[in-house]
Symmetry: D2
C-alpha cells in the first residue's frame, strides 16, 4: 500500500450503524474508506442500502468472502452480537494485525460466562476477550501503548456510564436509579412489532426493566460499589437517547463539589458537553457527536441527565473517535468542524 | 333467540379494522356484539389483540371453526382480500340468510375478471358478486328492498369517490388528477418495511402511482366518462387519509354551480361535512366518523379536497353505517352523539 | 326547569379540556349540556374552537356575562388557574347552589398560602377552599353526603397519586423518585416555544424538575410521611402521560404483599386497570378514560408505572366521573360502553 | 486582510436558515465564517440561539450596528422579507463591493410592482433589483462574469422549478398541477398556531392554495408559456419538501424523450439526483444538500416528483453552492464529501 491516507474497511455495513459509519468516514479528512462488505447487498452500490448516500460515493458493497484484510490499516465490524466474535477470530487467525474496532457487544465484557447470562450465547472466542480494550474514550483513553483492538461500548452504556462515573468514583457505594429513553433506530433496520409505526407513534413502553444487557458493561466501568437499577424505555422518535438518574449523595457533599467532579472529569473532552444546574434536551444531541450531561443537587441527592445520538456517540461516532485515538489524531477529527484559523 | 337487541358477530376481528369495529359496536345503542372470531387469538380476551379495549368488554375471541352463524342477525367479515370470499361462500352454503357486510375488496367489483387484473387472484365465488350491493351509503343508499349483503368500500375509494362524484355526475367526461395520503394503520397490524418507524417518520413516499387497486371501484361508481389518475402517498402518521384533486370544468360552469352540486349531493348526509371555498384539514376528520369535503373553483378548474379516518369512514364506521341502514336505524346511530332533547 | 335529564353548563369551554369535556358530555346518556361560555368565541358555534365537533352539535358559545346559572343543575369551570376562583366566588355569591366542578388548581390545596408558594398568586377566595372536596374518586369517593363542590385533580397529580397511594398507605415513610412524561396538549391550546413543532418533535425536555406545582396536591393526598422527588418531562406526542417511580420497600415486604395492596386499592374501580408484574404502555391509555397502573418488586424495591390520557382521566373524564358520583350514577357512565345484556 | 481563506459574514443569523448556514460554513474547507450578527442575541454565543452548535464554535453574535462590512469578502443576509432589501441597500451605499447573497425574497423578482402584489410591501430599493442574479445554479449558472449579487431562490420555488424546467423548455405551453408538502421548519423559529405541536402532529393542511408567493419566481424561470396551479400543504414533520406534478405532454412525446430531457438537464449537476421511472422519497433528501427528482410517463402525461431539504437545497445549502460558484470552487464544496483519492 502506498497511499498516504489511512485505509479502513467496514464489515457488515448494511445496517443503521454501518450507514452512519460510512457517512462519517466519507467526511473524515484523514481516513479513506476503501471497502464495505455485506452478504445480502454484495455487488450493489452502497446507496442501495443507504439511499441518503446516493451521489456521495461510488463504493459498491463487496462480498465478505472476497474481502482482503491485508488491504486495510483498520477494520470496523458492525455485525450482530455473536457474529462479530466469529468474524474477528477469523480475521486474526488469518494474520490481520491492524486496528480492529468491533461495534457489537462481543468483546465488551471481561468474562466469557457473562455472555451466557446476558446475551444467551456461548462466547466463541473467549481467549480474545482480554486482547480488546473497552472503548469509552473519555474514561479509558489514552489507551495503553500498542492497543489495537477496541470493543466499542453500547449505546445505553455510553450515556449511563458517562453520566454516573464522575459521581461514582467519589463514592464508595453508589446507588442509582436510571431511566433512559431510546429512539427506534436503536432496534435496527429490520421491522419489528415494537417499531411498527402505529405502535410506536405517541407511545412510551418500558422493556427489559432492571435487566437490560448493557448493565454488565456499565457495572464493569463503575465498579462493584455501584448498584444500578435501569429502566430502558422505547420513545416515539428515530434518533437519540435521553436519560435521568436519581442518586443519594454521601453526607456533606455540596453542589459545588459535584460541579467540580463533573468539570474535572470532562475538562479535556471535546465530545462531552456539560450543563451544570440543568438537564440537557435530547434534540441538541441528536444527530451530533456529543454526549450532553447536566446535573443538579437538591436535598442531599444528585439528579443527573444525559443525551446522545444512539448511532453517533452511542455507536459509529464513538468508533471513529476510537480510531482517531489509536492513530494519533485529535479525537474529534471528522466529527467536529476543524478550528478555523483567523 | 329472544334478545331484543340486534345480535351481530365479527369474523377475523384481530386486525386494525376489527379493533375499531369492536370499539364502535360496544358503544352502539341498538346492536349487541356477541361473538368475535380469530384463529390466532381463539380463547384469548379481546384485549389481548386490542389492549385499548381492556376493561371495556369481557368478550373472548372464539374459534372460527366453532362459530355458529345461526346465532347472528348480522355478520361482519374483516378478513384479508381473497379470504373473505371463501368465508362468505361457506356461510351462505351453510344457509346463513342474515345480513352480511364484508370489509374486504372481495365483493366490491362487478366482474370477476377484475380481481385477476387488480388483486392478482382468481375469484373463488364469482356467482356471488351480483348478490352484494356496493356500500357507499351517501351515493348508494337507500339500498333496494331486501338488500342483505354489502361490499364495504375501500378506504381511498370512499374519499376519492365522495369527493369527485358530485362533479362527475354533472360532466359527460371528467378528467381528474388525485393525490391522497394515508396513515400507517392503512397497511395493517403486521410490521412491514414501509411501516418501520425510522423509515416512516418524517417521510413521504408515493406507491402504486397510477395503478392502485382502488381505481376500479372508483371507476365503477363514477362511470366510464371519468378518467382518474391517482397517486397514493404514505404519510408519517397513523390515522387518516387526506387528498386533493385537480379537475378541469366544462365551459360555463361557475363557482356557484359547483357549490350547488355539492350542497345538493350531500344535503341529507350526516357523515359528510362540506367546506365550500376551502380544503379540509386532516386532523378534524381523523378519529371521527366523517368524510370532510371542501372545494374551490378558479380559472375554470375545480380543486377539491377530502379528509377521513381510514379505519372509520374508510372501513369500520362505514360498515356500521351500512348495518344501520339495512336494519332501519338512522344511519349515524352509534357513530354520532344522539341529538339531546331540551 | 322541567327537563328530566340533568342539565349542565361549561364555563370557559374554548380550550383543550373544554373541548374534551364537550365531546364526552355530548355522548353522556343521562346529562344534557345546555350552555358553554367563552368570552373570545361568544356567538360562534362550538366547532369554531373545536372543529372536530362540527356536525355533532348545534350549540353556540354564549357570552359569560349573559350566563344564567339558575338554568343549570351543575356547572363545570375550565378557566385558567387564578381565574376559576373568582368565577366560582361570583357564582356562589349569586346564589348558585348546584354542583360545581372546577378543573383548575384553584380549590385543590387546603391552605391559601400554598397558592402564593406554588402558583404565584394570592388566593382570591380563601374562605371557599374548605367547601370543595378534592376529587380523585378512587381515593376520595364516596364523597360525604351533601358534597356539591369538587376540585378536580391535576393531570400529573392524578397519575402519580394513584400510582403511589396503595404503597404509601402501607408505609410510615415513603421515599419515591418519580419521572413522568406528558404530551403537548398538556400545555394548552396557545402556541408556545415549548410546543413549537420543530422544537418538540423528536425531543425530550425536563422542566420544573423537583419543583412542579402538582407536588403539593400529591403530598396532601399521600400524607406527611411521603417524600416525592418528581421530574416532569415534555415528550414528543400530543396526548397522554406516562410515568415510572422507584421506591424502597420496608424490610420484609414481598411481591405478593404489593400485589395485594394494589388489588385491594382498586378492586372496585372501573377506571383503573392493573398490570401486576409489568409497566403499562402509554398508547393503551391515551384517548381512554383509564389510568393504567403496573408494578414489579425486585431486590426490596418497588417499581411502579402509570399511564393516562392527560385530558381525560387527567382532566375532563375525571370531571365527568365526579359528576356521576355526585348525582348517583355509576361512575363510568358516559365514559365506558354500557354493559351489553345478553 | 491577509488571511488566505475567503472570509464571510452572516447578517441576521439567529433563525433556522441562519443556524443551518452557520453549521455548513463551519464545515466548509475553504471559507471562514468570521461574524454573525443578530440584534436580539448580540453578545451571546452562537449556541444560545443554536444549541446544537455548542462545542463546535466560539463565535459570538455581534451587534448589527457594529458590523464592519469591510472585513468580509462575502456577506449572506438571512433577514425577513422586506428587511433584507433595506440592509442590502445600506451595505451597498456604504461601499461594500464584495459578494452579497440574499436568502430572502427581496431580490428574486424582476419587477418591483410584483412585491406589492405578492408580498404586500412597496419595494424599498427597486433600482437594485436588476443588479441581482436569480440564484438557481442548475439553471442559472455559470453566472455572467462579474456577478457578485445573488438572490437565493425560495424553498418551494427551488423544487418546483427544478422539477418542471426540463419539461417546460421542450414545450411551447405547459400546464402543470403541482402539490407540495413542507415541514414545520419552513415557517421559521417563531411559534405560530400552524406549528403548535397538537395542531401539526398527524395533520395535513393546505394553505395559500393557488396563490403562494413563490409562484412569480417559478413563473419567471419557466416563462410565459407555463401555467402552474400550485397547492402547498403543511405536513407533520420538521425538515423537507416533497411534491408531485401532473403535466399533459404534447402529442408524440415518448417516455424515452422525457428521460433524455431530464438526463440532459442535470447531467453535470452534483446536487440533483435523478430517479427515472420513480418518484423520490422525502427522507433521502431531508438533511441532505440534494434536490431529488423522479418522473414517469403514462398515457401522454408526465408525473414528476421532487424532494429536498427546505433549509439546505431550499435555502442555506444553495446559498453556499452559489458562493462556491462565484469564487471559483466546485459547486458542492463543503456540501458533499470530497472525492477520496485511492
Amino acid at each position: 500500500m502506498n497511499s498516504q491516507r489511512h485505509r479502513t474497511a467496514l464489515l457488515h455495513g448494511a445496517g443503521y450503524t454501518g450507514g452512519e459509519l460510512i457517512r462519517l468516514l466519507l467526511a473524515h479528512p484523514a481516513v479513506r474508506l476503501h471497502a464495505v462488505t455485506s452478504r445480502s447487498c454484495a455487488g450493489e452500490p452502497l446507496w442501495r442500502a443507504h439511499p441518503r448516500l446516493r451521489g456521495q460515493t461510488d463504493l459498491v458493497f463487496s462480498d465478505p468472502d472476497a474481502f482482503d484484510a491485508a488491504e486495510a490499516d483498520s477494520i470496523f465490524i458492525a455485525a450482530e452480537h455473536g457474529q462479530s466474535a466469529r468474524l474477528a477470530a477469523a480475521l486474526l487467525a488469518d494474520g490481520f494485525d491492524g486496528i480492529l474496532i468491533d461495534l457489537s457487544a462481543d468483546f465488551r465484557l471481561d468474562r466469557a460466562g457473562l455472555y451466557e447470562t446476558w446475551y444467551d450465547f456461548e462466547h466463541p472466542a473467549p481467549d480474545l476477550l482480554s486482547s480488546f480494550a473497552y472503548g469509552l474514550p473519555e474514561l479509558c483513553a489514552p489507551y495503553p501503548p500498542g492497543t489495537r483492538r477496541i470493543a466499542n461500548p453500547g449505546c445505553f452504556a455510553t450515556g449511563v456510564t458517562l453520566a454516573l462515573w464522575p459521581a461514582a468514583r467519589h463514592m464508595d457505594r453508589m446507588d442509582a436509579f436510571v431511566t433512559a429513553w431510546t429512539g427506534a433506530s436503536g432496534s435496527g433496520a429490520r421491522p419489528k412489532a415494537t417499531t411498527h409505526f402505529p405502535t410506536r407513534e405517541g407511545n412510551a413502553r418500558a422493556y427489559k426493566a432492571l435487566c437490560h444487557q448493557h448493565l454488565p458493561e456499565i457495572q464493569q466501568m463503575l465498579g462493584p460499589g455501584a448498584t444500578i437499577r435501569f429502566v430502558p424505555v422505547s420513545g416515539p422518535w428515530s434518533r437519540g437517547i435521553w436519560g435521568v438518574a436519581d442518586i443519594p449523595l454521601p453526607a456533606g457533599v455540596a453542589a459545588a463539589d459535584v460541579d467540580a467532579w463533573y468539570a474535572e472529569a470532562y475538562a479535556d473532552c471535546p465530545l462531552v458537553r456539560r450543563y451544570p444546574g440543568a438537564l440537557p434536551e435530547l434534540r441538541f444531541a441528536a444527530h451530533s457527536p456529543f454526549c450532553d450531561i447536566g446535573w443538579m443537587v437538591r436535598d442531599g441527592r444528585l439528579l443527573v441527565g444525559f443525551a446522545e445520538d444512539n448511532l453517533i456517540k452511542g455507536a459509529s461516532g464513538q468508533a471513529i473517535q476510537n480510531l482517531n485515538l489509536l492513530i494519533g489524531l485529535p479525537e474529534a477529527t471528522g466529527l467536529l468542524p476543524r478550528p478555523q484559523a483567523s
